[in-house]
């Protein structure tokens, strides 16, 4: 096998491994975050790995929403209660405040209407847990500045014409939207390259520059803070 072929194979293997690796990093943080015995809706739950982990380790009462029928069938085989549907359209299946948490792992950027999805999540649940790639990360900025092309990175592995990510944003963009929707950021953590998550103040320039992706715990400002109330930034142990 030629060196070039080896490199191609290694690249392909790395590409294949990346999305799962990136997901597991935020899975670990979500798992740490949810209160034992709580009610959790996983929006876009895929084959149900996270729901299964949360059920096993945190004894949650979980439900899922997933768009692909084969994934829903896989979830059912794991004994999970999952409804086939689209986050943009089918969150209305669930009644108001039926959950403690609604989780959206690396999916918001694929929604047709992220505002609506966020609003629905916080109608259904007291708190939303959202992870998303950060377009403000220095590598993304540098890639566009120097390469002049849409960035292809670990968390954004697909070329522009194949990506399902239609609503990408930076941390600043996201925190602006939270303000506009009157959402409180109860906690935020930076996720970068498989390193343990770090609590951060998502509104700072440094956070926007240094975080490959981020995990947010959100609630509605008009509602009293859920207890125990985690404080953004000053509880390093919250996210590890």
């Amino acid at each position: 096998m030629s060196v070039a072929a080896l490199e191609t194979a290694a690249e392909a293997a790395a590409q294949a491994a990346r999305p799962l690796g990136a997901q597991r990093e935020d899975f670990r943080e979500i798992l740490r975050l949810v209160r034992p015995g709580s009610r959790v809706l996983d929006v876009g739950c895929g084959e149900g790995l996270l729901l299964e982990m949360m059920t096993r380790e945190k004894d949650i009462d979980g439900r899922g929403l997933e768009i692909r029928p084969d994934n829903v069938a896989a979830c059912m085989a794991r004994g999970l209660a999952v409804v086939q549907g689209d986050a943009d359209r089918d969150l209305d299946h669930f009644p108001a405040r039926a959950f403690d948490y609604a989780v959206l792992s690396y999916t918001l950027q694929q929604a047709r209407d992220p505002r609506h999805v966020l609003g629905e999540m916080l109608r259904i649940a007291d708190q939303a847990i959202v992870s998303l790639p950060n377009m403000g990360h220095w590598r993304v900025r540098l890639s566009l500045l120097l390469g002049g092309r849409m960035p292809v990175t670990k968390t954004l592995p697909d070329p522009w014409w194949a990506t399902g990510n239609i609503h990408l944003c930076s941390l600043r963009d996201f925190t602006d939207l939270c303000d506009e929707l009157d959402l409180r950021i109860d906690a935020a953590a930076a996720l970068s390259g498989g390193k343990p998550a770090r609590a951060m103040d998502a509104r700072t320039q440094a956070a926007n520059l240094m975080s490959e992706s981020a995990l947010f715990l959100l609630s509605r400002r008009e509602r009293p803070p859920p207890s125990p109330q985690p404080l953004a930034g000053d509880r390093g142990d919250l996210f590890g």
Partner: protein, 389 residues
């Protein structure tokens, strides 16, 4: 519960199972939604497999409008394989090697359970239209009485498609404490105007047949076969999608050239005529009237103050699997979603998948791999949770 080998061994003709009839006398009357009661009635059923020692592996299968108890074994009249041989059998999602499978003919039916063609004990004549009008809930009540008689207190699962799925929903509303899990396929929580309209066409076809004789044909003469056949032909169209009909028949002719008359020129005409003709051999016209009426009266939300979720308030411990078929225009996906929405609002554990198929409503009877995988996965994980696996 009888002969193990007969219940388990599969053959080319399906699995054998055991046939039975439970007779209920005046000591066990069946109170009907209409206010009437049946003081003498019978329920014909078939079982496959063996009830385990702690009686936790029973599965009740509810059949559709024109189905019967012969779910996995050769039909005694038509000689065809069981109507759900794709789903019930060794190695299949409902497996008599692991489950004790029960399927009974519905109340009002004509395959052994009391219906309008049965003898009215008061007159010694067939009931005819003197038979009380029944509901889906009445059918379910009769099934619950059969299970009591068989010593089955709780069901590991109750499973059904189409009208069978309506019965499953009724089970969840009326006997949630007896259900561990429920599978509802291609069904709805109420009959729509279109559903009722098609049924009315069928009933009018039967009643327009001069041989129907106000429902008293059984005592007096030939059966209203033409009317029943037309009813079946009209209904059969609703069980298929436009795409499936087009693919199967298109505009293909029976012979070369048109007849310039009203013979069955087109293959689709010949097919429908055949469906109608063979149906009358195994079905009773009055049963068709009564069962379609029961379906039309079915509206679970109206029965619970207009809020469907209220029907499932007490079924929070039951695991639900709801499946719809993408090309089903009889009970479209929106109806399945309405059920799931109500289940979620009630806090029940519900899973839902829309099965991608262009074969229409009847796809639930066919071998659809995603449907089979979904039911298999659901049943297997439920079995683990129930301590059966």
């Amino acid at each position: 519960m009888g002969d193990t080998a007969a219940g388990i061994l599969g053959t080319d003709e399906g699995i054998e199972g055991i046939e039975g009839v439970e007779r209920f006398g005046p000591d066990r009357p069946l109170r009907l939604d209409s206010g009437a009661a049946l003081t003498c009635f019978e329920v014909a059923y078939r079982t496959y497999g063996v009830l385990n020692a702690d009686r936790s592996n029973a599965i009740l299968i509810c059949h559709a409008l024109t189905g019967d108890q012969h779910v996995a074994s050769r039909h005694p009249i038509t000689g065809k394989p069981g109507w759900w041989s794709q789903m019930v059998g060794p190695g299949l999602p409902i497996d008599p090697q692991r489950h004790f499978v029960i399927c009974s003919n519905v109340l009002g039916g004509c395959m052994g359970t009391t219906g309008p063609s049965s003898t009215n004990p008061a007159t010694g004549e067939p009931w005819g239209l003197a038979f009380p009008v029944i509901s889906i809930a009445d059918m379910v009540r009769a099934q619950a009485m059969l299970l009591d008689a068989l010593g089955v207190r709780t069901l590991f699962a109750v499973v059904g498609g189409s009208m069978g799925g309506m019965q499953v929903l009724q089970w969840a509303a009326d006997y949630p404490e007896r259900l561990f899990s429920a599978v509802i396929i291609a069904a709805a929580a109420r009959h729509s105007a279109q559903n009722i309209a098609f049924h009315e066409v069928g009933r009018q076809a039967i009643m327009a047949d001069p041989d129907w004789l106000g429902g008293e044909y059984a005592a007096k003469g030939p059966r209203p076969e033409k009317g029943l056949a037309v009813a079946r032909m009209a209904a059969h169209i609703t069980y298929l999608s436009e795409a499936a009909l087009q693919r199967k028949f298109g505009r293909e002719l029976q012979r070369d050239g048109l007849s310039w008359g009203f013979d069955a020129d087109f293959q689709v005409e010949s097919y429908l005529r055949h469906q109608g003709r063979t149906f009358v051999d195994r079905f009773d016209a009055n049963s068709y009237l009564y069962i379609t009426r029961a379906m039309d009266y079915f509206d679970m939300s109206a029965a619970h103050g207009g809020v469907l979720a209220e029907a499932f308030r007490t079924a929070r411990e039951t695991r639900f699997c709801v499946l719809s078929i993408s090309s089903d225009w009889l009970y479209p996906t929106a109806e399945g979603r309405a059920v799931v929405r109500a289940l979620n609002a009630a806090g029940a554990r519900a899973s839902f998948v829309e099965i991608e198929s262009d074969k229409g409503h009847d796809a639930f009877l066919l071998d659809e791999p995603v449907m089979r995988a979904a039911v298999q996965g659901f049943m297997d994980s439920a079995a683990v949770a129930r301590g059966l696996a």
